[in-house]
C-alpha cells in the first residue's frame, strides 16, 4: 500500500450568509470534490493550485485536523481524523504563514518543548538538533526569541521544529512564501538533502513554480477542489502549452527582436517581451539575443500558476 492514499475525497463547507433581515440561509460549498491520488514513500510531490482551490483543506484532512465529508484517506495505514494523535508522531507539518514556535520563547526553548511533546529521546534529539542547526544555519539564533527572527529565519526554525521527531512525511504549506531568493534557495537545498538522506516523503503546496521545479518530479494540480493534472512537471508544461517570458532591455529602442525559438509579442521603447515554451531551455535564446543585439538587461518571468492552469484547461477541455 502507498504511504498516502486518497480516494474519492469530498469536503463541503456550510456557509451562513446573511440573506436579508436576520435570517441566515445556509449554503453548501464544495471545497474538495472527487479527489483521488496516492503517494509512495520517498516521493517529493508538489501540490499546486490557485487560491481557494482546496490545497489547505486537503492538507488539513491528511493531517486529521479536518474530518472529510466522505471518501477515504489512509496515511501510513491510519485514518487521520480517527487516529490523529497516533499519526501526529509520524508526520511533520509546516504552515508557511503561521509559526508552530512560541513567540516569546527563544528557539532553544521551543525546540525543548517539542522534545517533550513528542517525547524524543535525549540522544536522538541532540543528534537531530545538531544536524538541523548546522544545515539550516540556526546555531547563532538559538537564544533569540522567535518574535525577533526574520521571516526566513523563523521559517528555518519552523522546519527544524517539524523534523525533530523524525517524521516519515513532511507537509509544507507554502514554505517559501515571502522569502527572499537566497532564503528560498537554501530552503530548497535543505529539503532536497532531507529527502535524499533520510528518505522523508515531502508534500508541498506552493504558489511558486520554481519551488516545484527545484524539488519535485511530480506535480498534482488542483482546481475547484479536484485534481486536474497528476504527473511530471515537464508534462504539465507540454500539456498546458505554457510559456516563459524573456524580458529584454535594449540599449536603444528598435524593431522586434528575431531569434530562433522565441517570439517577440510586445515592444515598448527599448523594452521587449519574448515568449518561449516553458519546457525549453532559456540559455540558447538568451545567448542568441546577446550576440545579435545590444542588451542592457535581461530577466526571465516564470509562468504563474494561474496561467499554467488556465492553459491546462484550454488544452485539455474541448472548446465549445
Amino acid at each position: 500500500m502507498s504511504l498516502i492514499e486518497v480516494r474519492d475525497l469530498e469536503r463541503t463547507f456550510v456557509l451562513r450568509r446573511r440573506s436579508g433581515g436576520l435570517r441566515r440561509a445556509p449554503s453548501t460549498v464544495p471545497a474538495v470534490h472527487d479527489l483521488s491520488f496516492s503517494i509512495e514513500a520517498g516521493e517529493m510531490v508538489g501540490y499546486i493550485g490557485p487560491n481557494g482551490a482546496g490545497k489547505s483543506t486537503t492538507i488539513k484532512m491528511l493531517t486529521g485536523i479536518l474530518v472529510p465529508t466522505s471518501g477515504e484517506i489512509r496515511v501510513a495505514g491510519l485514518e487521520p481524523s480517527a487516529r490523529r494523535t497516533d499519526l501526529a508522531r509520524r508526520i511533520g507539518v509546516v504552515f508557511g504563514q503561521r509559526t508552530t514556535l512560541w513567540w516569546d520563547l527563544p528557539l532553544r526553548d521551543s525546540f525543548g518543548l517539542l522534545q517533550k511533546i513528542y517525547r524524543v529521546p535525549d540522544d536522538r534529539f541532540r543528534r537531530n538538533l545538531d544536524e538541523f542547526l548546522e544545515l539550516l544555519d540556526l546555531g547563532p539564533l538559538l537564544d533569540t526569541p522567535v518574535r525577533q527572527l526574520s521571516l526566513g529565519q523563523r521559517m528555518r526554525g519552523d522546519i527544524a521544529a517539524a523534523l525533530l521527531h523524525d517524521p516519515e512525511i513532511l507537509y509544507l504549506d507554502e514554505p517559501t512564501i515571502g522569502l527572499d531568493v537566497i532564503s528560498k534557495g537554501r530552503l530548497r537545498e535543505f529539503l532536497r538533502t532531507l529527502n535524499a538522506e533520510r528518505g522523508t516523503t515531502l508534500l508541498l503546496t506552493t504558489h511558486d513554480l520554481q519551488d516545484i521545479e527545484a524539488l519535485c518530479r511530480r506535480v498534482i494540480v488542483i482546481d475547484h477542489g479536484t485534481a486536474i493534472f497528476d504527473g511530471p512537471l515537464t508534462d504539465l508544461h507540454r500539456q498546458g502549452g505554457s510559456t516563459r517570458t524573456l524580458v529584454v532591455d535594449l540599449v536603444d529602442a528598435g524593431p522586434a527582436i528575431e531569434v530562433p525559438g522565441a517570439v517577440a509579442w510586445k515592444v515598448e521603447g527599448p523594452r521587449q517581451w519574448l515568449s518561449f515554451p516553458a519546457d525549453a531551455s532559456a540559455a540558447p535564446i538568451v545567448a542568441a539575443v546577446a550576440v545579435a543585439y545590444d542588451v542592457a538587461d535581461l530577466s526571465i518571468q516564470e509562468p504563474a500558476i494561474e496561467d499554467v492552469i488556465r492553459d491546462l484547461y484550454s488544452a485539455t477541455e474541448p472548446r465549445p
Partner: protein, 272 residues
C-alpha cells in the same frame, strides 16, 4: 485517543513536562516573575480587607461570623486559584481558533486539552493561592479539628479545584461555536467564585438550590465548610450533602470533558 504504551498517566506527564518548561522560561526573568506574583498577592490581599472592613459595622452576615466567612472565602479562593493555574490557556481557546494555533496543536501527539492547559503555563496565581491559603489558615484555627474534618477539608480543596476546572473548561468550549464569548464564561467562573466568598444563606433558597443541583458551585466550599464548622444547614438540607463534594467534582468534570469533546468535534467537522 489512546496514547500508546505509556498508559493513562502519559497525558499527565506531558502536562507536567510542558508546564515545567514554561515556568523555567518565565524564571529567565526572575524579577518580573516575582513582581507578578507579589502584585497579585497585594491585589487579592486588598480583596479580603473589604470583607474585614464590612465586619467593622456588622457582627454576622447571613448568620455567619467573620472567621466563618474567612473559612468560606479561603476555601473557594484556594480552589479557584489552583484551577486557574491548571487550566492555563483554556479561557483563550477562541484566540487559538482564530490564529490557527489550534490547528498546530491538533497535529501534535498530545491530547488537545492537555496542550491547551499546559500552554503558557504560569504561576501568576501563586499570589492568589497564598492569600487565600493564609485567610483559610487563620480561619482554620477556629475549627474544632477531628480526623473526619481533616479528611473533608482535604477533599474540599481537591474537589473545589476540580469543580472550578470543569466550569472553566466547559464554559470556554462555547468559544468553539462563537469565538468571542470568554466574558460569558467569566460570569459563571469568577462570578461563581464571588458568590461562594459569602455564606449562601444570604441568597434566596432558589439560588442555593440552583447552585447545588444545576451548577454545583455550592460544593466548592459551602457544604464541606458547614461540616467543618459543625453547623446545621440553614436551609434544612440533609447532612449527607456535606460529604458529596467529590461526587459533584467527578460529575462536573465528566460533563466538562463531554462538552470539550463535542466542541473539538464541532471544530474538526466544520473547520471554522
Amino acid at each position: 485517543m489512546a496514547d500508546g504504551s505509556l498508559g493513562v498517566l502519559a497525558p499527565a506527564r506531558s502536562y507536567v513536562d510542558i508546564a515545567v518548561l514554561w515556568v523555567r522560561a518565565a524564571w529567565a526573568y526572575p524579577t518580573s516573575f516575582l513582581m507578578l506574583i507579589l502584585g497579585s498577592l497585594l491585589i487579592t490581599a486588598l480583596d479580603f480587607v473589604g470583607i474585614w472592613v464590612m465586619f467593622a459595622s456588622i457582627d454576622t452576615l447571613g448568620g455567619f461570623g467573620l472567621r466563618e466567612i474567612a473559612l468560606l472565602y479561603g476555601a473557594t479562593g484556594v480552589g479557584i486559584g489552583f484551577a486557574d493555574t491548571l487550566i492555563g490557556s483554556v479561557e483563550r481557546i477562541g484566540i487559538y481558533v482564530r490564529t490557527g494555533r489550534l490547528d498546530q496543536m491538533l497535529t501534535k501527539p498530545v491530547p488537545l486539552l492537555v496542550q491547551v492547559c499546559a500552554d503558557q503555563f504560569t504561576l501568576r496565581r501563586l499570589g492568589r493561592i497564598s492569600q487565600a491559603g493564609i485567610v483559610f489558615g487563620w480561619a482554620a484555627t477556629y475549627v474544632d479539628w477531628t480526623p473526619a474534618r481533616v479528611l473533608v477539608a482535604l477533599m474540599m480543596v481537591v474537589s473545589s479545584t476540580v469543580i472550578f476546572f470543569a466550569l472553566f473548561t466547559g464554559f470556554s468550549c462555547i468559544q468553539f461555536w462563537t469565538t468571542d464569548s470568554s466574558e460569558f464564561a467569566n460570569a459563571f467562573t469568577y462570578g461563581g467564585n464571588t458568590m461562594t466568598e459569602y455564606p449562601l444563606s444570604i441568597f434566596p433558597r432558589e439560588i442555593m438550590l440552583a447552585l447545588t443541583f444545576v451548577l454545583p458551585i455550592a460544593f466548592v466550599n459551602w457544604y464541606p465548610c458547614l461540616y467543618l464548622l459543625g453547623r446545621e444547614d440553614p436551609f434544612g438540607l440533609p447532612t449527607w450533602l456535606q460529604f458529596c463534594s467529590p461526587i459533584a467534582a467527578v460529575v462536573s468534570l465528566a460533563g466538562a470533558l463531554l462538552i470539550w469533546r463535542s466542541g473539538v468535534r464541532h471544530y474538526t467537522s466544520t473547520g471554522s
